[in-house]
Every structure is written in structure tokens, then in C-alpha cells.
């Protein structure tokens, strides 16, 4: 049966005649990799630098022409203002995002499993039908959607948003899981079936244990998507019961005279929860879950 031991990947020994040069080139490669990685860290952080530096600037100082300069006077006012305005909305965002992400991930996993490894004739057509849902252009359907939601009587704010994020998350979560499971060897599932396991039991004992990396990617996506969604928030919530994107929008874009420092502080603040989620989930990016699954 498959092992559930977590084994970190390790590179096997190279052919023996070249140990010396192999060790040297391995070290060089490692340095090169580090250099490249650090180079890109700098590149990626350039906009973050501007965000950060502007968030500490007073209104007159926070202007596009002074984007690269350090603040003339460091001030925490922007952060204080951003925190006061945003923290109730941040709480509501959590209330909305956590259930939405978990439910849609589980549904996606079950769907993905069924469509790829417990398949049936016509499964690929059903998959196509589900996948297509990802591409629906929201702007074009907002009015009928509003009528639908009002007609269904779903309360505005967090409940509506959970429903919408689950529903519209199903296509993409299904996609990711299905394609991930497509590379699971058939033998694994067959072995379970031969042992008499039904669909659900196979899922529980064979598929679920090896799904962790894909759950991580899916949760990252769903969490971020729901957290940063603006369109649904505008249409189905108000600033009193809505998520952080609405509050952030009101903070950043609410006046004719924009206060860039506050906008940036708010943007950074609102981006911290997803970042924390990425870090927490990152621990599960482990390898070797399928080690020993293929018998020679």
C-alpha cells in the first residue's frame, strides 16, 4: 500500500568517477541558484518598497515625483488611520473567506477526484462544462445576478459573499484538483478498488492523503481571490457589513483629493492576512508523498 511517510527529497549519488567535480559543480549550481533567487527577490520587492515608503509619508510628501525618496518626515498617522478604518472590515473578511475557501476546496477535491480517477463515460464533457464556468464575465451578468440573489433572499454582506465565492470557486478548484489527480498512477486507485473500497473510501484512504500540496495551492488561490475580490463586495455588501476591499476602497478612493500615504498603508495592511496564510500553508509544500506508491 502507499506509504504516508513524509520523506524529503534528496539527490541520489552521481556516477562514482566524477565525485570531485560533481561536488564542485553542485556547489556552484547552488550559489547560482541563490544569486538568481535573490536577484528576483529584489525585483519583486521594488513596488513593495514604494508602497512601504509612501505609507510613512505625510500628505504633501506622498507624491509620484517623490516615489523613490525616503520620507522627509516619518509618520505613523497613515497606519493608525488605516488600522482604525480597516480592522472591523478585516474581521468580516475572515468570516467570509475562511468558510468559502474551505468549502470550495473540498468540493473541488471531490469533483476533481471523481472526474479523473473514478471516472465514467462523458466525464470529460462534464469537466468541460464545469471549467467553462470559470470564464463567465462577471460584469456582463451582474444585473441578472443581482436579481437572482435578491430574489433568493440571501442576506447582503458575508452570507451572500460566501455563497458567491463558493459557487464561482468550484470551477477553478475542480480544475486544479482534477489536473493534479490526473498524474496519480491508476494503479493506486485500482489497488484500492480491488481491495473492495467504494468511491468515498478510496477518496478517504488513497486520494486525500496525497492531496496536501494541491490543497495548499487551492486554498492559497481561494483565500486570496475571496479576500481581494472587489466586484462582488460592491454589489452584494455595503461598507457596514462588507469585507476589507470595500473599506479599503472607501479609504483610498473616497475623496477627490487622494491621500496616497493612507492608501498605501491600507493596501499593505489588507495584504498581511493573505501573506500570513501563505506562510502558514507553505509548511505543507512537502515532497515525497507519493514515494513508494509505484511498485517496481
Amino acid at each position: 500500500m502507499s506509504t504516508t511517510a513524509l520523506v524529503t527529497t534528496s539527490r541520489p549519488a552521481p556516477p562514482s568517477g566524477t565525485v570531485g567535480s560533481a561536488v564542485a559543480s553542485r556547489a556552484t549550481w547552488r550559489t547560482i541558484r541563490y544569486v538568481i533567487a535573490i536577484f528576483f527577490v529584489i525585483i519583486v520587492l521594488i513596488p513593495v518598497y514604494v508602497l512601504l515608503v509612501t505609507s510613512f509619508k505625510a500628505p504633501g510628501d506622498a507624491a509620484p515625483t517623490r516615489a523613490w525618496a525616503l520620507p522627509q518626515e516619518w509618520t505613523l498617522d497613515n497606519w493608525k488611520a488605516a488600522w482604525t478604518t480597516l480592522w472591523p472590515a478585516i474581521l468580516r473578511s475572515f468570516q467570509m473567506v475562511i468558510p468559502a475557501a474551505i468549502v470550495s476546496s473540498v468540493l473541488g477535491s471531490l469533483n476533481g477526484f471523481v472526474l479523473s480517477r473514478w471516472s465514467f463515460r462523458g466525464a470529460n464533457i462534464v469537466f468541460a462544462g464545469i471549467l467553462f464556468g470559470m470564464f463567465i464575465p462577471y460584469q456582463a451578468v451582474m444585473i441578472p445576478l443581482t436579481q437572482l440573489m435578491t430574489g433568493a433572499g440571501v442576506p447582503s454582506g458575508v452570507p451572500s459573499l460566501i455563497l458567491l465565492h463558493v459557487v464561482y470557486g468550484i470551477p477553478i478548484t475542480t480544475l486544479i484538483f482534477r489536473n493534479y489527480y490526473a498524474s496519480v498512477p491508476h494503479e493506486l486507485v485500482e489497488a484500492a478498488r480491488v481491495d473492495g473500497a467504494g468511491m468515498l473510501r478510496t477518496y478517504w484512504s488513497v486520494i486525500l492523503p496525497i492531496s496536501i500540496p494541491s490543497f495548499v495551492v487551492v486554498l492559497i488561490w481561494q483565500f486570496t481571490n475571496a479576500w481581494n475580490d472587489f466586484l462582488f463586495a460592491v454589489f452584494f455588501a455595503s461598507s457596514q457589513n462588507g469585507p476589507v476591499t470595500l473599506a479599503l476602497n472607501n479609504l483610498a478612493n473616497g475623496a477627490m483629493l487622494q491621500n496616497y500615504g493612507v492608501s498605501m498603508a491600507g493596501a499593505l495592511l489588507a495584504s498581511l492576512p493573505p501573506l500570513i496564510v501563505y506562510i502558514l500553508l507553505g509548511k505543507y509544500f512537502v515532497g515525497g508523498l507519493m514515494s513508494g506508491s509505484v511498485k517496481g
Binding site: T8, P12, A37, F40, V41, P47, L51, P64, A67, W68, L107, L115, W118, S119, F120, V126, L131, F132, G133, M134, F135, I136, P137, Q139, A140, V141, L145, V167, I170, I172, T174, I176, N179, Y180, A182, S183, M199, P213, S214, V216, V217, N228, F230, L231, L248, L251, N253, S263, M264, A267, S271, Y278, I279, G282, F285, G287, G288, M290, V294, G296
Partner: protein
């Protein structure tokens, strides 16, 4: 050798999703399509104060014939192409760098993923500053940065160019999504059983052969997921463009923006038509992909 599987347990499992999608996706698409074949171009018609009638595909013909919409479509094509290429290359490269365990991997991963956490609604302004098109003395943003580090020659107009400007908008998009592509590939890499690699090495395969015959095929489904995800983000890119260059700017018009502008003009029929055009574009691309996947998996 798969044997006869009963259809109903899997279908039952899929049923909730299918029902929900039937209503929230296909029902709405139908409603949208119905609107697009009417002449509902004013607010009065939308509320029934004035009559509407069915005009068949007139709206579509009208749209596709205008220069402006063709420009939008061209922009979409350019944007999507650059966005796809950029994100896939960056994401794969980062995953490849990080997939062998290394010290500080968690930190690198967090940094590369961080852009995805930042919403464009408030941070779009930063990219607007960075992509400011002034060069030389009045430069600010990235052009100014290039000057500061001595790479003056890299200065350019960014998105302030009517033919290729949209490519500059792909930069923030790539910045935001590459980290996720990396995560997808990392999950993919980590999901490959070690035995496969070891077996290949035992057989004397070189690094390159290992990648070509073992790893890439295993990663193909993941890569395709990534392509589909990036593609759909590209079609929906709206917040990004609105926050950097606003709705009216000709350089960066894409169908999603046109849809919004039509809607704000109370021109529901044309807005719906643009939406349907987008769906058709998607269908044209997705259907071959699905057909190919279908064939490939049935010949395993």
C-alpha cells in the same frame, strides 16, 4: 481495463456543483445572451419604458466592424500573450530554483507569493507611478530608477503607446501572478514520486533527459492548469487596468473595459454582446485543450 463503472455515484457526488453552476453560470449566460440580441441600448428600454425588440446578431456585427473594438481585441491578444509567457517563465523558473531543498526556501516562497496578496484596488496607484511615461529630466517611476542605477537606455513610454502600450500593463499582472504559478509548479514537482527520478538516473539519464522524459510529462497537467488560470485572469483583467490607466484611455482598452463603459452608458445590449464575445473567444481556445486532454488520457 477500467471496467464498467457505475455512473451514478460519481454523478451524485458532482450533482450539487452541477446544479449550482447550471443556475449561476449557464442560467446567467443565457440571460446575458438574450440581452445581447435585443436593441436594448438605453435606460428607458431597460426598465420597460420603451420597447425592445430582437435584432439577431446585429449588435455583434456592429461591434466587430468598429475599429475601436478591433483595437480592444488586439490589445487583449497582446496582453494575454505577454502575460502568459511572462508568468509561465517566471513561475516555472522560481519553482525550479526552489524545488531542491534550500535554506531560506520559505522566505523566498513568501516573497514571491506576496504580490498576489496585494489588491490592485488600492495599490494600483503604485504601478501607475512606476509606469509613468516621462523620460529624461521629468522622469519618475521606473524610468527614474533606471536613471539612478545607470541603465538610462531602458527608459521607455511604458503603456503610453497606442499599439504596444498594453504590454506594459502585463508587467504588474506578471508580478502578481508568477508567484502563484510557482506554487502550482512546486506542488507539481513535489508530487512526483522519487522512484521515478531514481529509476531514470539508474538508467543513466542525464539531467536534461530526466527533465524532458520524466519531469515535464508529469508536470504537463499542472502547466495546463496554470495556463488556463492565467488565461482567465487575463480576460477578466479589469481592476488592474482601471486603477492604472482608467476606463477611457485608448492605449489600454480591452473588451472588459468596453463592457464596463457600455454598461455605464446604459447600453446593456452591447455590454452583453461584448461579454458573449469574450466567452466565445474562451470557448475557441478551451475546447481544443479539452479535446486534446481527452484524447491524451484515453490513450494512456
Amino acid at each position: 481495463m477500467n471496467g464498467v463503472r457505475k455512473v451514478w455515484p460519481p454523478l451524485l457526488m458532482l450533482a450539487p456543483s452541477l446544479v449550482v453552476l447550471a443556475v449561476f453560470v449557464y442560467g446567467l449566460i443565457a440571460a446575458n445572451f438574450t440581452t445581447s440580441i435585443t436593441d436594448n441600448h438605453t435606460a428607458a428600454q431597460a426598465t420597460g419604458q420603451q420597447p425592445t425588440s430582437f435584432v439577431g446578431l446585429d449588435n455583434y456585427v456592429g461591434l466587430l466592424a468598429t475599429d475601436d473594438f478591433q483595437h480592444s481585441l488586439m490589445n487583449l491578444l497582446l496582453f494575454t500573450g505577454v502575460f502568459l509567457a511572462g508568468s509561465m517563465v517566471m513561475g516555472f523558473m522560481w519553482a525550479w530554483i526552489l524545488e531542491r531543498p534550500a535554506r531560506g526556501e520559505g522566505l523566498f516562497r513568501a516573497v514571491y507569493l506576496f504580490p498576489m496578496a496585494v489588491s490592485f484596488v488600492a495599490s494600483g496607484v503604485v504601478w501607475r507611478w512606476l509606469l509613468n511615461s516621462n523620460q529624461g529630466e521629468n522622469a519618475s517611476g521606473l524610468n527614474r530608477l533606471f536613471q539612478m542605477i545607470g541603465l538610462d537606455a531602458l527608459q521607455n513610454n511604458w503603456w503610453n503607446n497606442i499599439t504596444f502600450g498594453i504590454i506594459a500593463i502585463a508587467i504588474p499582472a506578471i508580478w502578481q501572478l508568477s508567484g502563484y504559478v510557482m506554487a502550482l509548479f512546486l506542488a507539481g514537482f513535489r508530487g512526483i514520486p522519487d522512484e521515478l527520478r531514481e529509476a531514470a538516473r539508474m538508467d543513466g539519464a542525464s539531467e536534461w533527459q530526466l527533465y524532458r522524459y520524466v519531469l515535464f510529462p508529469q508536470l504537463a497537467p499542472v502547466a495546463l492548469s496554470a495556463l488556463v488560470i492565467i488565461g482567465h485572469m487575463s480576460l477578466k483583467s479589469f481592476d488592474l487596468i482601471m486603477s492604472i490607466s482608467k476606463a477611457a484611455n485608448y492605449q489600454t482598452k480591452v473588451p472588459a473595459v468596453d463592457m464596463f463603459v457600455f454598461k455605464s452608458s446604459f447600453d446593456y445590449a452591447n455590454s452583453a454582446a461584448v461579454g458573449t464575445v469574450l466567452l466565445v473567444i474562451v470557448a475557441v481556445v478551451i475546447i481544443p485543450y479539452l479535446w486534446w486532454t481527452n484524447r491524451k488520457e484515453n490513450t494512456r
